[in-house]
Point group: C2
Chain length 198, copies 2
């Protein structure tokens, strides 16, 4: 009974991650109730981002320039590469402002079950950088899932042939601000086994 245009919009919104038909209808109604203030600014932002954003050929992140702002930033340590799974992970590290080097976005993890092998990971440009550039250290900041761990092992082996490059991984342990009895067994075991004298 709705118009086709509204139905189409609801259908597209309900495909977005975290959306269902109900929340999609809610958002569409919200946008259409005040198109000038709500729908058109979003439309414009989508248009601009869609036409200008592309994947950085060096590190694999999303940016309006290629190579991206991070890869061309001379104030950043180009010899220190942090390997992450997704662009979202890169954004999280950038928000925290804790990494002053550059990045490599793999675009996923190895997963034999899902049929994702090494050829599906964005590693060619990483190896290229290691071969040609002055890479000093590679930090593996992958998820502590089975697949993230498998990817970490594979990357460590692949990078082992490049002598002179340190391969490290981020520490595992208790999250800051966390109470001990709220942690899962895996985290507790990791925190305990990685203990160090104070």
């Amino acid at each position: 009974m709705n118009s086709q245009e509204i139905e189409c919009l609801v259908r597209l919104f309900s495909r977005l991650p975290g959306f269902g038909p109900r929340s999609a209808r809610r958002v569409v109604l919200y946008l259409l109730r005040d198109p000038q203030a709500r729908l058109f600014p979003l439309l414009q932002a989508l248009e601009q981002a869609g036409s200008s954003v592309s994947i950085c050929s060096v590190c694999g992140t999303l940016d309006t320039v290629d190579p991206c702002h991070i890869c061309t930033d001379r104030e950043r340590d180009q010899g220190l590469i942090c390997v992450v799974e997704t662009v979202g992970d890169l954004w999280a590290l950038e928000r925290a402002g804790v990494h002053r080097g550059v990045y490599q976005v793999l675009g996923g993890t190895l997963s034999p079950l899902a049929g994702r092998g090494p050829e599906d990971l964005n590693v060619t440009s990483l190896l290229h950088r290691v071969e040609t550039g002055n890479v000093r250290e590679i930090i593996l900041a992958l998820g502590t899932t089975v697949e993230g761990t498998a990817t970490m092992h594979w990357l460590t082996e692949t990078l082992a042939c490049y002598t002179g490059v340190i391969v490290s991984r981020v520490a595992r342990g208790m999250p800051i601000g966390g109470a001990l009895d709220m942690l899962d067994d895996g985290t507790l075991a990791a925190a305990l086994s990685a203990r160090h004298p104070i």
Copy 2:
């Protein structure tokens, strides 16, 4: 560190109902990972809906034509008007396919606390239809909140002067498929007091 275009898109998405910064980033990443298949179709749908959808001058719903499809549908009972709070309520009734008359969308409820009085409700066109048309019955299908109930009382009084028009309200009671011990006190009381012989 992200480009301005991405930041702007994330900010606009995080203002949508049900969104926060985290879910907005997730959606933006999802869209930008495959613009051809994800971002551009959404862009196009927003463009079409934004340029074509307007408010029906008769009932107040959203549609691409004015008067809307429902108001001009000769197969629907134009003498039976169902009064709802929002366009979302109208959509819910249409999905259920249980109302074969037409609608009046108030656009909200009376709320002295929020400063919303009768002048903020879309009732002029309802009264106009009652005065000029062959309206037989008006069904009040408002929320069973304090504000919905207050609006219902006010509307009943306002419509009382039009003799010959039946003003009814949707029944209150147990929802279908509901277990008795899962219901709140208010619903139980309403269901019990509205009992009828079988």
